[in-house]
């Protein structure tokens, strides 16, 4: 009896959902039929996107300067490391400064060269992890897919940066980037997403701009709302060395 009832309920729900789908699609088609007189706006009169967004310089040095300026105003730390060895030294400096007990990372090729062999407990997220353990880590170290000079953003994905939580759960997020990853603007960054993943997108792509923040109490800016309190970007100048 119960079995029959649940079957019936499922059936009714199935029909109902189908009706909802048809109902919505038909309503859209009906509504759009009457829209013939409404023409799409004349695109010839519109300025293209790169002429309306904040302008970006063309020289590489100026782009780096722009990224640095944006990072500063976002209270993100931007460090240019001469080499991988320098990046490693800087990580050790951060470790001592903040007396990290445990850090988390993923097995990206650049990250691996910098933090191995680890001289402090290292938690890898690649093959699944315990979320309580990850929450206890003092820092999350990830790679990224691009840095955007225009906005000071970092672009990373769930596939290339150790999953969805690594870049947002630990209180300090450290991004290891290379100089070649810096792109001028948002349209270029989105092009990179397209080219890199075209038909096999990761389940999450995130543009991170500064440490987590909120202004929900009297509109006063506070850092570290739910995500990282601190964001450090280490850009390796010479990724061969």
């Amino acid at each position: 009896m119960n079995y029959h009832r649940s079957q019936k309920k499922l059936f009714v729900n199935g029909i109902k959902n189908m009706n909802d789908k048809d109902h919505i699609l038909n309503s859209i088609i009906d509504a759009l039929k009457r829209k013939d007189k409404h023409q799409a706006s004349d695109s010839a009169l519109l300025k293209p996107i790169d002429q309306v967004l904040p302008s970006v310089p063309s020289e590489p040095e100026a782009l780096i300067e722009m990224f640095r300026k944006n990072s500063d105003s976002l209270k993100a730390e931007f460090y240019i490391a001469k080499s991988k060895a320098d990046a490693k030294d800087y990580l050790i400096h951060l470790k001592n400064q903040e007396s990290w007990k445990k850090i988390a990372s993923h097995k990206g090729s650049i990250v691996r060269q910098i933090i191995e062999p680890p001289d402090l407990p290292l938690y890898w997220t690649d093959d699944g992890y315990d979320v309580h353990e990850l929450a206890k880590c003092d820092a999350g170290i990830t790679e990224c897919d691009a840095l955007v000079a225009q906005t000071g953003s970092i672009m990373l994905t769930s596939r290339t940066a150790g999953g969805r939580a690594l870049s947002v759960l630990p209180p300090h997020h450290i991004v290891i980037a290379t100089r070649s990853q810096l792109v001028p603007d948002l349209p270029t960054a989105l092009q990179i997403v397209r080219q890199r993943f075209s038909n096999n997108y990761p389940s999450m792509i995130s543009f991170i701009t500064g440490p987590s923040r909120t202004g929900d109490i009297e509109r006063i800016l506070v850092y570290g709302a739910h995500g990282p309190v601190k964001l450090t970007i280490i850009m390796i100048w010479n990724d061969q060395g």
């Binding site: 859209i28 519109l46 999953g163 948002l186 989105l190 109490i217 506070v222």
Partner: protein, 465 residues
């Protein structure tokens, strides 16, 4: 219908007489305006950016049939389950069913105005599920048992002292009334909840058709956590959020942040598409996306109102609205407040219940100026007034205009009227002014009526010709 109007008037009167709160709101919004203008100035051409955004969103709406088909196809191929909900009731029952199937106990939610629109929290709480808002502002107003005060700044009407008291009584943890300390209280409290939660519910700012992705904009990182840790992710999307191309986000994301929060770009702009992939270490194992109509196709069918679907819910029209600034968001009594709410509510929720909001505007046009997708908001308000006058005629207004019509059409009567105005004003002042019989009482109870001049304009003109 009458009670809605009455409630609105009473709430508006109460809020506009609360001077301390008005000052708090005005201060916040003035500061916002300064930062927003600075960010707008970074654009090479903000005006052209608005044109472009309006055109792109309009183009998306005109091709909604193709876009929605492509969007669902791509989303499904990414492994998400797509549901269709023609109204709020249907959306609520779909979400409830998913949650019941998962035998969930704790649900975490990131900010979503669409979920406010369908009153999701009420439904989930009544069904016995522990549902927690995670956006700090939403979390605060949820603890207070109210709705959001503003589309983007839900708790902007509260002082830090009030929030401290609230945290003290509800969470038993409020070391000081320093905003940073209070934020940390919420951070600590919610951290465990993300980890424990079985289900994460999010809204959507944009939905990209060509790649089947949901774009969520936030500053706090709560939506990132809501969509990373729970095993099931539910996303509620209004069908007007669908845009055709990924590249369009390069324009929409900075514009949304600039107009909505006075930032060049928000802290986290994240694209989600389906559950975790086999090569990814975390993320939900199921992603349900609910496409909600709830009056949107009705708006689409309307030859004039359809451009309201361009709205990206940045809340900038609220920030600049002199009415909103004085009566606040709660007075509207609706899911969407401010100019956009005043325009939308009569159309999606019924002109009979909500026509009065069309009058909650001075028609100054500040909202239209502020709108990043160039919705002509104040003309929509005017149009709603016309519809209201047609559907809910008021006999004495009709009579008054008939009489005015009579006088205005006859030069003799008009001259007589303008001449006698000077005499009549003495009779008016002597007899009914300021009493309940006064037809202009709502005006005269707080203001003076300017005196009518003895000399009419025609007489003056003749003399100075």
């Amino acid at each position: 219908m009458k009670s809605n109007v009455k409630n609105f008037k009473a709430a508006a009167l109460k809020s506009s007489s609360d001077l301390t709160r008005r000052r708090l709101i005005l201060n916040a919004l003035r500061n916002f305006e300064v930062t927003r203008n600075q960010k707008q100035a970074l654009f090479q051409d903000w005006g052209a950016a608005r044109e472009l955004a309006a055109a792109k969103k309009w183009d998306a709406i005109l091709n909604l049939d193709k876009n929605i088909e492509l969007f669902t196809k791509k989303l499904e191929s990414n492994g998400a389950k797509v549901h269709w909900a023609k109204d709020a009731e249907s959306a609520r029952s779909i979400i409830l069913q998913i949650i019941q199937e998962k035998k969930a106990k704790l649900i975490v939610k990131s900010k979503s105005m669409t979920s406010e629109e369908i009153h999701l929290n009420d439904t989930l709480t009544r069904a016995g599920f522990d549902t927690l808002e995670t956006d700090l502002g939403e979390f605060i107003v949820q603890l207070r048992g109210e709705g959001p005060f503003h589309i983007v700044f839900p708790a902007m009407h509260l002082t830090r002292g009030e929030i401290r008291e609230l945290f003290q009584s509800k969470l038993g943890d409020a070391p000081s009334d320093d905003p940073e300390a209070l934020t940390m209280v919420a951070r600590r409290f919610l951290r465990e909840k993300y980890i424990k939660a079985d289900i994460g519910i999010t809204g959507a700012n944009f939905a990209v058709a060509e790649t089947g992705m949901i774009s969520i904009t936030e500053n706090e990182g709560n939506a990132r956590l809501v969509s990373a840790l729970p095993r099931t992710m539910i996303t509620l999307v209004g069908i007007e959020k669908i845009i055709p191309r990924l590249d369009d986000l390069a324009l929409f994301l900075p514009m949304l942040a600039t107009a909505g929060a006075g930032q060049l770009i928000s802290c986290y702009n994240t694209l989600y598409s389906g559950p975790r992939r086999p090569d990814e270490p975390d993320g939900p194992s199921e992603h349900h996306v609910i496409l909600l109509d709830n009056g949107r196709t009705k708006v689409l069918a309307d030859p004039v109102a359809c451009d309201l679907l361009r709205c990206i819910r940045c809340g900038n029209c609220l920030n600049v609205c002199p009415v909103f600034r004085n009566i606040g968001g709660h007075s509207y009594g609706a899911a969407y407040c401010g100019p956009i709410g005043s325009v939308l509510m009569p159309i999606i929720a019924g002109i009979e219940q909500w026509y009065h909001l069309s009058y909650a505007s001075s028609l100054c046009g500040a909202c239209t100026e502020a709108c990043p997708v160039k919705i002509d908001l104040h003309h929509h308000l005017l149009k709603n007034r016309r519809t209201a006058a047609k559907t809910i005629p008021v006999w004495w207004q009709k009579l008054a205009f008939k009489i005015f019509n009579l006088f205005a059409c006859s030069p003799v009567l008009w001259r007589l009227m303008s001449k006698s105005g000077w005499f009549l004003q003495f009779f008016y002042v002597w007899s009914v002014k300021g009493t309940c019989l006064d037809p202009a009482y709502p005006w005269t109870k707080t203001r003076e009526l300017p005196p009518i001049a003895k000399e009419t304009f025609r007489e003056w003109y003749k003399k100075h010709e």
